[in-house]
């Protein structure tokens, strides 16, 4: 019986289809492994669902007297719920796992696999996102039922809204992945993750629409990548963003998604030289 005869099995040329198959399979397995931890995931979801509910109660009473900064109650409701769904994509699974594996040295095992590290993490994030989006939509439907329905999206901006919502994934991935890579320099991830979450929450408009922020902060926020992670798609849904402003906002989103991807590439090549794997 022979096992392996060196050279007997010629190595087929690498093809795009092998890579696509690899990443698709990784996405599927990521989803599957998440299902193994359904209980803990559902508890996390429950916590964020309570967050959404309390925000809705808060804004309902704040807007009872009439619209503020151009938001009336139904618009605000739609804004918050859309922001919640897109904000639940690429949550802490990606960076938490990454940072852990880098710190423990298990990243070594990721590097003996015949796949690109960054594409692999994206593939896994897409797998997680299927589950994240699914459960978030359930939460939103329940919340909408409690608060008397959700207004439909603005007709004119629907195509841009869909594009914008899709762009949230690579955008959020970029930020999450980059912050995960920081563990190569910081050794401890908890602080980095907290900072990342704080930045996203404030500058994405997920908690408070950017219109409520002081002028200077709003101007800064417009050019940061975070605005595209909640505010842009949510405003497109409610129709508050239209015309050339809408197109610009989506272009900014796309530009950031691409820029973050390449920035992460640069950072990885620096990180790879720093990689230290202790023991075994």
């Amino acid at each position: 019986m022979t096992f392996v005869t060196a050279g007997a099995v010629p190595l087929p040329a690498d093809t795009r289809s092998r890579r696509i198959r690899a990443y698709r399979s990784m996405a599927r397995m990521a989803l599957k492994s998440l299902l193994a931890y359904q209980t803990s995931f559902l508890f996390g979801m429950l916590a964020s669902a309570f967050g959404v509910l309390s925000m809705l109660y808060l804004w309902r009473s704040a807007l009872a007297a009439g619209p503020r900064q151009g938001f009336d109650w139904p618009q605000m409701k739609a804004y918050l719920l859309v922001a919640f769904v897109v904000g639940s994509l690429v949550s802490s699974y990606t960076d938490y796992r990454m940072a852990n594996r880098i710190q423990q040295g298990d990243v070594a095992m990721d590097l003996v696999r015949p796949v690109d590290y960054q594409w692999s993490r994206l593939a896994e994030s897409v797998g997680f996102a299927v589950y994240e989006a699914g459960t978030a939509i359930v939460v939103v439907l329940a919340a909408a039922a409690i608060f008397g329905g959700m207004p439909p999206p603005d007709r004119d901006t629907v195509p841009l809204f869909i594009l914008s919502a899709l762009l949230v994934l690579p955008l959020r991935f970029g930020i999450v992945y980059l912050s995960g890579l920081l563990v190569f320099w910081t050794q401890n991830y908890v602080g980095v993750q907290a900072a990342r979450i704080a930045l996203i929450t404030l500058f994405s408009g997920a908690l408070v629409p950017l219109a409520f922020l002081p002028e200077w902060m709003r101007v800064i926020a417009t050019y940061l990548p975070f605005v595209g992670m909640a505010s842009t798609p949510a405003l497109l849904y409610t129709g508050s963003l239209d015309g050339s402003d809408a197109t610009t906002a989506v272009l900014v989103q796309a530009a950031w998604a691409v820029a973050l991807w390449w920035l992460a590439r640069l950072m990885w090549s620096a990180a790879a030289r720093k990689l230290t794997v202790h023991g075994g």
Partner: protein, 353 residues
């Protein structure tokens, strides 16, 4: 590095390989941490310090040395995980850290202390994921899996979630994961660590078979029985440098000159002095009872035949055996610092027959 004519294709070629890790130097306590923020100081740790190595196709090389000698670091540079600080690495014509993905398609790696398996998934899913990563066709996958199952007994493990496997089971599954794509080169870094004797034997015979079938194997281990079982060539490293590279048998001949012969005698011996007198330079000791006798001697000054003759002249022998020098003794000498690289920087390299 000179090539020996009789040698087939060189698969692994390493020259002047170096890896230096930088560690932050922090004084203890909060004050130390704060000072480190302002004034960053680092200390350098040289893990691999100029290694030259060349491995031919089909060779089985044992790569040994004490803890922290740089074994794992070398293997990690060979598999493209770590970027060398200096020097050249070429594996099957590729520079591993530059062509990491392509390199990973050709080599299989097992790190005894880590797992390739996806922790939350059944072994079967992990293997199928690897099948997809390597782009293996359904038929080839089924065939390879059947062959691996034959030797490693995978069938029972396939439906089990990786984190629920015992250490021995995990190692079998990990070996399968590393070999699924039938790599030409396999790095085994402590593949028997923490395993019980039965599983160790199984892993060893598996690796022997791999070598017999022409796979190039580089084995890093602390378990010297692994080496004697699998490898003919041994590379000993210490403090990041190669201190010996050559045939396993010759290293034993060169550095372990001490042999010992034990005898069981028909009748008790009043004393060992008379035998000792016949064997100058040898150590003659009586065993726990006076019918046992052990002679320890330098192989270069005395032969087994002379020892035997001396004992026969004084007593009747019932049984005897010669203790083969264990590679352990050699490595212990290295650990104790008795073997040093030659002054000219080279090593006493011997041709592998």
């Amino acid at each position: 590095m000179e090539m020996v004519h009789a040698r087939p294709v060189t698969l692994i070629q390493v020259a002047g390989l170096r890896k230096v890790f930088r560690k932050p130097e922090k004084a203890p306590g909060l004050r130390g941490s704060l000072r480190h923020l302002l004034q960053r100081r680092f200390s350098e740790h040289v893990a691999v310090d100029g290694i030259d190595l060349s491995v031919a196709q089909g060779e089985a090389v044992a790569y040994v040395g004490p803890n922290g000698a740089g074994k794992s670091t070398t293997v990690k540079m060979l598999s493209g995980i770590l970027v060398p600080t200096a020097g050249q690495v070429l594996v099957d014509g590729l520079v591993p850290y530059r062509a990491r993905v392509e390199n990973a398609r050709r080599v299989g790696v097992v790190f005894g202390q880590r797992t390739q398996l996806w922790w939350d998934l059944p072994v079967r899913d992990s293997l199928e994921l690897l099948r997809d990563m390597h782009g293996l066709g359904a038929a080839r996958y089924r065939e390879t899996l059947a062959r691996l199952d034959d030797v490693l007994g995978l069938a029972d493990l396939l439906p089990v979630v990786a984190r629920k496997l015992s250490l021995g089971q995990r190692m079998r599954a990990d070996l399968a994961a590393a070999l699924l794509h039938e790599p030409r080169i396999v790095y085994l870094d402590e593949p028997t660590i923490g395993l019980d004797i039965a599983v160790k034997d199984r892993v060893r015979s598996f690796v022997r078979r791999l070598v017999a079938d022409g796979t190039t194997v580089m084995l890093t281990t602390h378990d010297l029985a692994d080496i004697e079982d699998i490898c003919r060539r041994i590379v000993i490293i210490d403090a990041g440098r190669v201190v010996y590279d050559g045939d396993l048998q010759s290293v034993k001949d060169t550095h372990v000159r001490e042999r010992s012969m034990s005898f069981e005698l028909a009748a008790g011996l009043p004393g060992v002095d008379r035998i000792a007198a016949r064997l100058p330079g040898a150590q003659v000791r009586a065993g726990s009872d006076d019918r046992e006798l052990t002679v320890t001697f330098d192989r270069m000054t005395l032969g087994a035949r002379e020892v035997l003759a001396a004992v026969l002249a004084e007593a009747e022998i019932v049984d005897m055996h010669i203790d083969e020098p264990a590679i352990e003794t050699v490595v212990r000498k290295v650990y104790a610092g008795q073997l040093r690289p030659e002054p000219d920087g080279g090593v006493d390299r011997e041709t592998v027959s």
